[in-house]
């Protein structure tokens, strides 16, 4: 097993370094190798979806078999998944019947889930002071409310001074967002480097 871990690490590091060099160095054949390896990764991720589907079904079947809480709902999930996947394999995703699955189930449920956030977000912001009563929370809610005020259409047109609010808050938000994005990029960079150095090996190696 140890040799497997070592070979896996070698595979990950070499693939990663080739792709990374393909990003920054345009010396042939690095860019082509990068595309080839990313294609492989896409294929592996695609095959992983089939394994994941099995996992999804197996977990629900286990719930049904052991009569766990929600087992009956699990049966619904498995049934709908198998029917959709079965028909999808036969008919293809562009078939009108498959589009029906999207139009009749996926879009309505997702859109409705998104819609209920219009209530739950208000609820969460009302309860914010019950969670944290500090100046940052006050600033947060103040900024949100003022920004919505500046955006809000009224029967008399936009509120006076809306442009100034949008200018100042927009500038602050752009600056803050830029700082956050740069920070996240730094974190991503270092996380990726840890994997490329074999310090993190989530692929089964210790």
């Amino acid at each position: 097993m140890r040799i497997v871990a070592i070979l896996s690490a070698i595979a990950a590091i070499s693939a990663g370094i080739i792709v990374l060099l393909g990003y920054f160095v345009s010396i042939p054949p690095l860019p082509d190798l990068r595309l080839l390896l990313t294609d492989w990764a896409i294929l592996i991720a695609g095959m992983a979806v089939l394994v994941g589907i099995y996992n999804l079904v197996a977990v629900q079947m286990e719930k049904i078999r052991t009569r766990q809480k929600g087992g009956a709902y699990g049966a619904l999930l498995v049934l709908s998944l198998i029917i959709t996947f079965g028909f999808g394999l036969l008919l293809g995703p562009e078939d009108p019947w498959m589009r029906l699955a999207v139009e009749a189930v996926i879009v309505p449920v997702e859109a409705a889930l998104m819609a209920i956030l219009a209530v739950t977000l208000i609820y969460a912001s009302i309860r914010l002071f019950q969670r944290r009563m500090d100046v940052m929370s006050v600033l947060f809610l103040l900024a949100a409310v003022v920004f919505m005020l500046a955006i809000m259409p009224t029967p008399f047109g936009p509120i006076p001074g809306d442009w100034f609010i949008l200018l100042v808050e927009g500038a602050i938000a752009r600056g803050g967002a830029r700082g956050l994005l740069i920070g996240i990029a730094l974190g991503t960079l270092l996380t990726g480097l840890r994997v490329l150095f074999g310090m993190d090996r989530p692929y089964g190696g210790n």
Partner: protein, 243 residues
């Protein structure tokens, strides 16, 4: 060229600081959310309750994989620490490859902890292949599995509001971070102590995942100030019209 230089510099710093950190531990600023996480882990072990760890839906074949890798590093450590628990944590993901990796990570963690028998394939779950189906599946886990704490770390978008709402309804603790700013905003308003910005990538260091995680935080600090200095100097020179 600049990018390659930055990359090489970061790599060298990471190697050096990691080696250094193996000799002396870094002192990092306290982050309330991670203190809460460490308490939640210990209490879940102690009380026999379930920990729900959600790794988001960042596909590793895309650029969104960074946060997923950070979540996996944290998961590995949490797996070791919860290996003595009556109820092993449930790990949910919205990406199939990530779900497989979460199973591998759980197995590795338990193996190192000498508790292989704790591993069940059903503890590393794919709850959906699209963002909202993943969130909906995770809501069900929160509802059905007697979860005492939800640790949501990874790539999530607006669907994170559903997970936060379910956690609130189930009255379970929520420790959440995402690399997406919309999700961070939602967690900022929903979680007791929000994890914002790059704090997501500090998860490993704060749960004790090793010197490399500490080292990478120090490299982040060094690069951070280099970038700040570059921006300030560049802005000034640009204002003067010198560049």
């Amino acid at each position: 060229m600049i990018a390659l230089g930055l990359l090489g510099f970061a790599a060298l710093l990471l190697l050096g600081l990691t080696l250094w950190r193996r000799r002396s531990r870094a002192i990092l600023r306290p982050i309330d959310a991670y203190e809460r996480l460490n308490r939640a882990v210990g209490l879940a072990v102690e009380m026999g309750t379930r920990l729900h760890i959600s790794l988001g839906r960042g596909s590793l074949a895309t650029t969104r994989g960074g946060s997923a890798l950070a979540g996996l590093a944290m998961l590995r450590r949490l797996a070791e620490r919860t290996s003595a628990s009556d109820r092993p944590p449930v790990v949910t993901s919205g990406d199939a490859a990530l779900a497989i990796l979460s199973q591998d990570t759980l197995q590795s963690g338990y193996r190192v902890a000498g508790a292989q028998e704790q591993y069940r394939f059903s503890t590393g779950r794919l709850t959906g292949l699209t963002p909202f189906s993943y969130a909906a599946g995770s809501m069900s886990v929160e509802h059905d599995e007697n979860v005492s704490a939800n640790v949501v770390i990874g790539d999530l978008g607006m669907e994170s509001a559903l997970i936060a709402e379910a956690s609130d309804r189930e009255n379970s603790s929520l420790i959440a971070a995402s690399d997406d700013l919309s999700a961070q905003t939602i967690f900022y308003v929903s979680a007791q102590e929000p994890l914002i910005g790059e704090e997501l990538f500090a998860a490993g260091a704060y749960v004790g995942a090793g010197a490399s995680h500490e080292g990478s935080l120090l490299v982040q600090d060094i690069l951070r100030w280099l970038i700040i200095i570059t921006i300030l100097a560049g802005s000034f020179l640009k204002f003067l019209g010198m560049i």
